[in-house]
Symmetry: C2
Subunit: 321 residues, 2 copies
Amino acid sequence: MAVTIKDLAKETGLANATISAYLNGIPVREYNRVKIEEAIKKLGYIRNDYARGLKTHRSGTIGVLIPELSSVFSTTIITEMEETLREKGYGIIVCDCRTDLKREEESIRFLLSKMVDGLIIMPVSADKSTFGTAIDKKIPVVVIDRKTNSKDVSHVVINNREISRAATERILAKGCRKIALVTGDMSVYTAKERKEGYEEAMRSAGLYDDSFIMNGGLSVEGGYAATKDILANMPDVQAIFVTNYEMTIGSIIALNEEGKKIGKDIEFTGFDKVEITRAFVPAMETVNQPLEEIGRVAAATMTEMIDGAEPKDIILKADIL
Amino acid sequence: MAVTIKDLAKETGLANATISAYLNGIPVREYNRVKIEEAIKKLGYIRNDYARGLKTHRSGTIGVLIPELSSVFSTTIITEMEETLREKGYGIIVCDCRTDLKREEESIRFLLSKMVDGLIIMPVSADKSTFGTAIDKKIPVVVIDRKTNSKDVSHVVINNREISRAATERILAKGCRKIALVTGDMSVYTAKERKEGYEEAMRSAGLYDDSFIMNGGLSVEGGYAATKDILANMPDVQAIFVTNYEMTIGSIIALNEEGKKIGKDIEFTGFDKVEITRAFVPAMETVNQPLEEIGRVAAATMTEMIDGAEPKDIILKADIL
DNA sequence: AAATAAATTCGAAACGATACGACTGACGGA
DNA sequence: TCCGTCAGTCGTATCGTTTCGAATTTATTT
């Protein structure tokens, strides 16, 4: 079967405890170190994390739960998170719950049964019911991109409201008065915050009118449909502000189809780095989230919590490109 | 501490073995079933996979190793794979090795120490040295998007050469004679195959000239640079064929910057579903890989191998949109 | 109702690593 | 030379499951 510590012990003539010590970085005599290392190489030993985890109740693994793996938003953050955590000796297990609450719960059970030392999660709902089990088990939880009503978890979010307000004000400064907003369902934290930022700006200008607000369902298709709708029913619209990556893409496609030139026929502000479109629509403005930073900070917060730190809320700053 | 089977045993007055049996789907008496289920709910029991894995040498987990998490190619495949595996009761652990051979090895050790029941991998090199450890341990390995020189693993690839040949022939049929190819380093399996498909078509037409072949390094920047280069140094080029997603994007950006209209000034065939560009460059042709199918098939092959099937090679068909 | 067959349940021994207290030997100081 | 110190090493119990043969209960047959 697999090579175990006992095999190493037999091979080297040492006790398991000594091998274990070596493996855990506790100093052993030079000549023993050499023997052990030779044996490891010779036998091809790989530590059995399951046995270790059983004994230590630690796995050296962080669970990452996201609603959708196939979005730049998630992957950029995850990549950076993995990097940071790896440096601290942690690996990650990623679960994609497909924006499905039931799967989210399933996944959390899965991760917990894998004995993760912590949970970084972008919850589908703002309700703590799903990750409550983790909290009960005293497993540190970091929530990203959402604010929840729980005091037991850390939050890492961006200044959604402020940046949306600023973006809207920038459009206003260009002289636009009829500005449409494409956002998501108000049950989604970011959608709500971003809408409120927009609302603040519009109200201050005395221009708020909620018929300018469209729900784009946070998807490419939704953004596309919402934009078509806007163009069809609000002929005098002067600008569109779209509040996430997918909808931005959909919206641009719709504008393009309708022959509306951004910067000329209409002002446009999108969300996130829509790389390719910059070539085609240089006049487009974009709210740029510090994705790498979110990943880094979330990871760092996680390790701090594992080491005993209290939960904290961190707000990072997005900027406008 | 955590709730264990023993706690359930105490709570119900049954032996651990009975609880274990219930948990594993072996029938127990109705009234015991009820008692056990109540106890589980009451105490909030979650099975400790580590203890179980230690005993059974199975983890119910498949390791997935990819060179780059932040690419549509990977994420689409992974998402589909996860779906399929989940249905069979497996979870996945994803590792991103950042196209780095050393990390690839590290990650494989990590995954093996996590006792994965199988490994699905998109190797950086075609050399079996990295995943050899897995094979030695009799762990099924499925390689996607690459052919390796190992007979012990399954391969899931697309018909790279044929489809590239077909794509090239299609361009030729439009009357183009000077067709540039942007591909990657010849050490990369897909780059090589795709280049050879192109070469076959060009040779048949008596038009092959390797000065038309550019290395775009498989990245957006590389594709961009290669295309700029082509436009600068091959003024009479009539068409460009780009062989992966990232380079396609880079190439389109470059063409756009240079004011070259696809379908008018130049013919263009890209690779993979470049969603957004379709709105801007409807004349663009694209080789479309069946990503979902790759994921599905890889996952299915994995479970078959776990159940004892022999390694096999599967070639899926891409088409041209 | 007794005897046999079938279905559950039980107890205790693993699985592979770590933790803990006890033990060894080498070294320096008195 | 003797003793205390301390870095290393050793045995062994233990983590929470599953496994397996034996023991017990329930169902079936005669």
